[in-house]
Symmetry: C2
Amino acid sequence: MPLKFYGMTKRVAYQGIRGSFSSMAARAMAQEPFEPVETSRFREIFEHVAAGRADLGILPIENALAGSVHENYDLLGEFQLSIVAEHYLPVELHLVAPVGAELVGVRQVSSHPKALEQCSKFLEERPQIAKISSSDTAGAAQEVARLNDTSMAAIASEEAACEQGLQILARSIQNHGMNATRFVAVRAAPNTTSAANKCSLLFTLPHQPGSLARILTAIADANGNVTKIESRPITGKPFEYGFYIDVQAASEISSVARAVECLASSSRVLGLYEAAAPLF
Amino acid sequence: MPLKFYGMTKRVAYQGIRGSFSSMAARAMAQEPFEPVETSRFREIFEHVAAGRADLGILPIENALAGSVHENYDLLGEFQLSIVAEHYLPVELHLVAPVGAELVGVRQVSSHPKALEQCSKFLEERPQIAKISSSDTAGAAQEVARLNDTSMAAIASEEAACEQGLQILARSIQNHGMNATRFVAVRAAPNTTSAANKCSLLFTLPHQPGSLARILTAIADANGNVTKIESRPITGKPFEYGFYIDVQAASEISSVARAVECLASSSRVLGLYEAAAPLF
């Protein structure tokens, strides 16, 4: 998978601290060394990029096991930023704890709610372990290292364990062996690359038979291949439906975007960018 | 919204205890008094119904704010049960705590991860409150009542607060005022009602331009209106995509299901049932 080159990009905002999956995605996506801008909330990433305090924001957008990160889709709709790249990051989750800890002695585990959800089978088999939600996996590992209590563990990456001097008590505990998170990079200005062959769109349609079929036929006529589609009820508008859609095309991706814009009640191009290869 | 009548249904399985949103959905959906079969995991609901230990299972399938409950879609694909009804339950989440507690003194809150996610704005503004994941909202309220510590709160329904003798410290703290969860009822045998005007389907398609457009055009030609669609990557099959879809029709919903069955690589009808009215 080719890494992206961003020219003058210097400051990259992402959620969490070093060792978080977002920090790993940031390093994979920003080819050059960069100044990290660490945040505790996704909204802050958008605020930093919109205000020019960061050049690029890195966002998890969907996970193979846990599905879409709806909060980030909502923020993409709210802020006028553009997706300029995507990246699939393999996600392996480990149970990590201070040196000297043993699995049988663990009584509490902290991690991001999505990470706890992705390890639900492992945790359901161990009901004696209380689950604590934290804002990111690496931050949970940092807190476990700070408290240095062998009954307390975190679910985090191997990198976070190394970074915090923790040992791995149980390796790769996510529900399925193959797990990946798709990240996107957002910037204040849209892509100018001519290599774009994928686009992300938000649009709304009247709730009528055939309205979605017409849009998808127009996309197919423009040689677009839908790689993701998701409907979303619009609060307060029971007769309209919102959609997230990703479309890939061999060429001329902008004609796909125009086809959607012509047929939807309302639409917004979230970005035109080069498709990355899925991992599995 | 008309309540459903299930004839001989006696035992109804759902996740959580009395006061859980699932228990409230069960009462709304099973018109007659029933014997509750309480479980701590969704998988157990499927196991109980498949083995005949329960006549009906009640499952949350999607929430207006947090999106689809992927685990239940996966279980619907795994077990050979049928959706026989749907119901939209309004969801209001409250911060509840023992009598004598004050909001400023709360240091820990426990609830289901989806409930914590739906109250993320309220909780982000109060970083001093640690978030504990529990398997259901009503169980979290029960545990808070048992410990009777005024620094510990739960996020749960008003019904759960009443049931456990807890007070409401902060009312309706979910991110948006209008929130609802869609529940479905599953049974071992498919519906025989002629009133069915909605169907839920799982299907896979080759990852080719136009394959989804053809299916949706066939659905529209059969007068079907897509009320939900979601793509799902299939682990280990990078060139195929899976879809969940719900379709509503003025009449002859079975012809919609047949149209999908003819065009998909593989498909499964999860159920034919009577559509309930969305709340908002």
